[in-house]
Point group: C2
């Protein structure tokens, strides 16, 4: 009864390795574009090459590394174009997530979202400007809406795959959320629509929210014209 952790979650070595490596790559410990040597990583983590290769396969599926047969694996280099592509996917997907969430969110979940936004608001009003909580709060808001859809495949797709890439970009790029107050306003508007059970409006607002963030990135990447 005390070692509950060992019962409910059988840990595979390759699975744990996958999560470790994911965090290492997302946080920039393993820099973008760097080559990944299987023997070296295997020695560092004290495992054989078998589980490590399986973990790499999983990372490749997420899109964090790219593998070339007989050559090896490299951490993906996330240029602006690829980031824009991700936002292009996020926009309609999270819009649909909002539409679904408007029907399925419980009152309790809505209240928790409200508290989250107020907490976030207070931090910004106090002018802390701590980017960490800013990003954390931002992601948290989106995560909760997505998970409320009850569409497991949608949750996996967004939270377990695409968002790793976003976190990687934000942790390695100096840019820290260029417009936190505006973004929070948009979050409030989305919450209002969700609270009114207006799925159609919530979808539009979320799409605009992501589309605007995408435009900011677009202007940063090509400041000319």
């Amino acid at each position: 009864m005390q070692n509950l952790r060992n019962i409910d979650k059988q840990s595979m070595l390759s699975q744990d390795l996958g999560e470790l490596l994911t965090e290492a790559i997302v946080q920039g410990v393993i820099p973008q574009g760097s080559k990944i040597s299987e023997p070296e990583l295997a020695r560092r983590y004290g495992v054989s090459r078998g589980p490590l290769r399986e973990a790499m396969l999983k990372l490749e599926g997420i899109g964090l590394v790219e593998r070339i047969p007989h050559v090896g694996a490299r951490v993906v280099e996330l240029n602006c174009q690829q980031l824009l592509d991700i936002y292009t996917i996020r926009e309609p997907l999270e819009g649909m997530a909002c539409r679904l969430a408007a029907e399925r969110l419980t009152q309790r979940q809505l209240n928790e979202l409200h508290d989250l936004l107020e907490h976030h608001q207070q931090y910004l009003d106090d002018n802390h400007g701590e980017a960490y909580f800013d990003q954390q709060g931002d992601f948290d808001f989106h995560y909760r809406i997505i998970k409320a859809t009850g569409n497991q495949r949608l949750v996996t797709l967004l939270c377990d795959e695409l968002y790793h890439l976003l976190r990687m970009y934000r942790s390695t790029s100096a840019r820290q959320h260029a417009r936190p107050k505006r973004a929070l306003q948009e979050h409030w508007a989305i919450w209002q629509a969700l609270n009114d059970r207006d799925g159609e409006l919530a979808e539009i607002l979320m799409r605009r929210h992501i589309s605007r963030a995408r435009k900011v990135i677009e202007q940063l990447s090509s400041p000319d014209s």
Copy 2:
């Protein structure tokens, strides 16, 4: 089937295995819900368990099999709810794909799409009713639009992951596209919008197209109310 390694010397064994197994599962050769024994499959394909496990990892990433640590892998059982979830994801994603394609399709690609639809139309008018071409033409239309977006991640997501599940469902279910003529009409309308470079309308039409197909499935799954 034994000389798998002679197919292409430059590709990896696990990669070829992944494609073979994907086809076998999609076409129902390996039935839904069946347990997958690593030693048995390894013997059948004349390879070791290493590459086979790596192929299974890839299939798990696509969502064709489910693995439980220390228990094994099973081919996923695609119930109606999961199929509805997939359509829920397809609707906004392919809508966005249409919006993008409206800007990027070349005149040549538009003409090819036109020929494809006319070919399809002729088959239906001749009352062949051959479900195979019907499905093939349907998928082909959607594939071409998606690939015209130029968003590689979107292409991979839809064509290399979600569509395998759709093909699996259609090949194992007796239902053969309940409304081929109506669907073709909607394809024509989408093509018209694409040809007019009206991305906004093309997106709406594609969303409606997929949403209607989803409703058909929804009614089949729960005929009451």
